[in-house]
């Protein structure tokens, strides 16, 4: 008998089967993912339980139908039946009893399984692409990877390349005819033999002279010379690191209800997830404003309320300041998303728009304005801010504006904005 411990074998033997399975059921899984994402926030999707219809996953077999035919069953546990008794037919024709309908009304064809978070997000963000704007490169300061780059004559001892060094040493010794140890040993042996046998002074003198010549030569030509020594050389290659910064601008004045903030938060989350799939390093800056603007942390941004008027341009000024001080244009891809209920002090509109056009948009990859409304969606016509931004968009600037009233609209709007298919995006940009 053999006992083998297989516990440390590579896991995920069935990964290839799983990929084939997901590809097979892709359409249904996508629908299910969309549906699941409408229900709960995307960032809490850690291993989403998905339910799909079993149609394309059916594995048909030829078998008898349960609805026709004459059968005899043998069952255990007779209590009081005798031959010839009749038993009323069970309602659903099952005749087996036991299983009850499951509480959430799943049908038997439905198929449940768990998607890992990566699989979920991959499917969720599938087909979305960054707007085809210039992708700004590469901060040079960020990271270096040492990579082998040939050999050098100087370096630290730990980088000594023995093979190269010995090869150089050998070829130099051959080229300069350094006597080999075996040659010297042969002469010494012959001298010793002469010492033991009859004296042959002539020969001995010759040998002694030769020995001395060779010894001197081997002392003059060192076994390893500094010029033989080689070190491994490493070069630091700068790794291109595309970084993005995402500005979240939000109006937090009293008119913004919790519901509106929730909508905005969902949109920001989506944008963050999406950017972090595309960039290795994504920074998030939260700027909230009333009649003044501050950079704050996430907690404060979403949860504390402020009172005051609403001046949008303050947020732009703050963003401009942060951009100038921390995010040099050559090194960062800048994305900005503004959420507001559309209120602004009428006197500020013109200034805000000009600031947007001259200072913000030229520095941004992408600017999205999300107008969040109450759930019931009472609209008294377009707001001041909406009209102002619409003019900017019509003037051909890269700004996307959308209205959102309900949670379920967030994801479709997001998809419109980043859809790989340009026609959808442009149509949405109206």
């Amino acid at each position: 008998m053999n006992i083998i411990d297989r516990r440390l074998n590579p896991q995920g033997k069935s990964l290839a089967n799983r990929q084939r399975f997901i590809r097979r059921a892709r359409k249904q899984i996508l629908d299910a993912v969309r549906e699941a994402s409408a229900k709960n926030g995307i960032a809490d999707a850690e291993g989403e339980r998905i339910r799909i219809r079993g149609d394309s996953l059916r594995e048909p077999q030829l078998h008898h139908t349960s609805r026709a035919g004459r059968r005899t069953h043998v069952v255990p546990g007779n209590k009081d039946f005798i031959e010839g008794d009749t038993i009323p037919r069970p309602p659903s024709g099952g005749g087996r009893g036991g299983s009850e309908g499951s509480p959430d009304g799943d049908s038997e064809d439905d198929f449940h399984f768990v998607l890992s978070q990566d699989e979920f997000i991959d499917l969720f963000l599938e087909d979305l692409e960054l707007p085809d704007l210039l992708r700004r490169q590469i901060s040079t300061t960020e990271e270096f990877t040492p990579s082998r780059a040939g050999f050098t004559t100087s370096g630290s001892a730990s980088n000594l390349n023995l093979v190269r060094t010995m090869r150089n040493s050998l070829s130099r010794r051959i080229a300069l005819h350094r006597p080999r140890g075996s040659d010297l040993a042969a002469i010494e042996a012959e001298i010793a033999a002469l010492d033991a046998g009859e004296p042959d002074d002539e020969r001995r003198r010759e040998l002694n002279a030769e020995l001395e010549r060779l010894t001197r030569r081997s002392r003059r030509i060192p076994f390893i010379d500094p010029i033989d020594i080689r070190f491994n050389r490493f070069q630091n290659i700068p790794r291109p690191a595309a970084s993005a910064v995402m500005f979240c601008l939000m109006d937090v004045s009293g008119s913004m209800t919790a519901h509106m903030k929730d909508l905005a938060k969902r949109f920001y989350k989506l944008l963050y997830l999406f950017l972090s799939r595309r960039y290795r390093n994504v920074e998030v800056v939260f700027v909230r404003h009333t009649h003044v603007a501050h950079e704050v942390d996430e907690q404060t941004f979403f949860h504390s309320t402020e009172s005051g008027g609403t001046i949008v341009s303050t947020a732009f000024e703050e963003m401009q300041r942060i951009l100038a001080s921390r995010f040099p244009r050559e090194q960062w891809n800048v994305y900005a998303a503004q959420a507001s209920d559309g209120d602004n002090m009428p006197a500020d509109n013109a200034y805000a728009v000009s600031l947007l056009q001259t200072a913000i948009l030229p520095n941004c990859q992408y600017f999205a304005y999300l107008e969040v409304g109450a759930e019931e969606g009472r609209y008294g016509g377009p707001t001041e801010l909406w009209r102002a931004y619409q003019r900017v968009a019509q003037a051909g600037h890269a700004i996307a504006i959308r209205k959102v009233n309900h949670r379920s609209q967030i994801y479709p709007v997001f998809r419109q904005l980043f859809s790989r298919d340009r026609s959808t995006r442009e149509e949405a940009g109206q």
């Binding site: 516990r7 399975f21 594995e59 077999q61 030829l62 035919g69 031959e83 009323p88 036991g98």
Partner: protein
Amino acid sequence: MSVITDTLRIKAGADWDFTQLQLAHDEIEAVALGEMGLDIYPTQIEVITAEQMLDAYSSIGLPLMYRHWSFGKRFARDESLYRHGLRSLAYEIVINSDPCIVYIMEENTMAMQTLVLAHAAFGHNHFFKTNNLFRQWTDAGGILAYMDFAKSYIARCEEKYGEAAVERLLDAAHALMSQGVSRYPRRNFSLEDEEKRAAERRAEQQRTFNDLWRTLPGQHGPARRPTDAAERRRLLGLPEENLLYFLEKKAPLLKPWQREVLRIVRHIGQYFYPQKQTKMMNEGCATYVHYKVMNRLHERGVLDDGAMLEFLHSHTSVVFQPDFDDRRYGGLNPYALGFAMMQDIERIAERPSEEDRIWFPEIAGSGDAIGHLREAWANYRDESFIRQFLSPALIRKLRLFSIFDDGQSDLTVKAIHNERGYRQIRGALADSFDVVRQEPEIEIVDVDLDGDRRLLLQHRVHSGMLLEQGDAELVLQHLATLWGYDVRLAEVDAVTERVLRTHDAGAPSR
């Protein structure tokens, strides 16, 4: 031996280690081989984690399997059920191979591992090695090497012809898998040469390929086909019950690699066919063996009382048989029935009643229970085992009764546990374990070679049991894909020869 008994004391809930596992194995071996006279393949025990157990589940219990989405589906479902606590995993999986591979879970306690070893490494192992069906129809020595070949062959096909093409082919082949079994004539089931033969076939094709044959006149001349129907069927080897075999040999449009893949699926179906027919006996045998072994180990002091109770707890939940009106009832539990029947045989051999002497004159009171059991394990399958050994005493104990269901009116009780009913119940229960009766009887009967090459199949309908329409049509569509032309399945009443229903599937457009 006494040294070992001194060192091995299995306590309840204790963790296992490799030394103890080895010692426990030796102890069990002494009982199972020495006292019970079992005959087993060499064993290979592999310790695995829960995730690996799920892996093993999904590849229908074979350690090597080619890739297909249906295994991913099975894995996803099992994983989901397991994660949500709806289903626990098996303690072990055992593979009918030589050496016999037993997977055991690392989570088991030492007492559980001992149970699992007795159950799988000895009980199932003995059944695999000695049962006639397995000996005749499976090649335990060759299966692992064959699966290795199958896996790499299909992987190569995926590379060469694309994953989509292979997937379509496997979908179709899987749909016909249970019709890919040769039930009657015994063809050659040695798997060892399969790989070599596949290579030889390829080499032969390449060597003898000559494009000139294509240009010979006469090929397209007047058809010289035998038009006599009987002669044509004889030449095609019809009727044929093994659909996959027929397609592999005779389907006109398949490429050589597609035939080889069909062959692989057919071999796997054939490999599992005996397991379908002996599920109850196989589990009964393993349960009986572990029950005997564990009791002996307890008597010998290897198992302490706590460990024995732990064992009995899981043993009784395995052989629990709820009554028909219990919410938990889900049909007869094969473990319970098999174990009960084997204990019953032991009782008849050792302490027979007058009734037993009349019903089982050849074994009653012989005293050699294990001898009779070994004989039964070797020579019967579920259906014949019940027909031969289900005793009136057990029918009374389980209070079996048979009900007749004509599909429309109320159910009638046909027989209960009384003198008139024993034989009826025994016959009906044996029928319900008969795979040939439970699976539809489908044959290829003819090919319309003179017309549109339509493939004609027949389902012989017994007791009015028609096929499930939706599935039948999907399967036929797969069949038409493989055959390349139209396919028609006629459902014919076995008694009156009347055609009850026909299903058609059109050939895929090429």
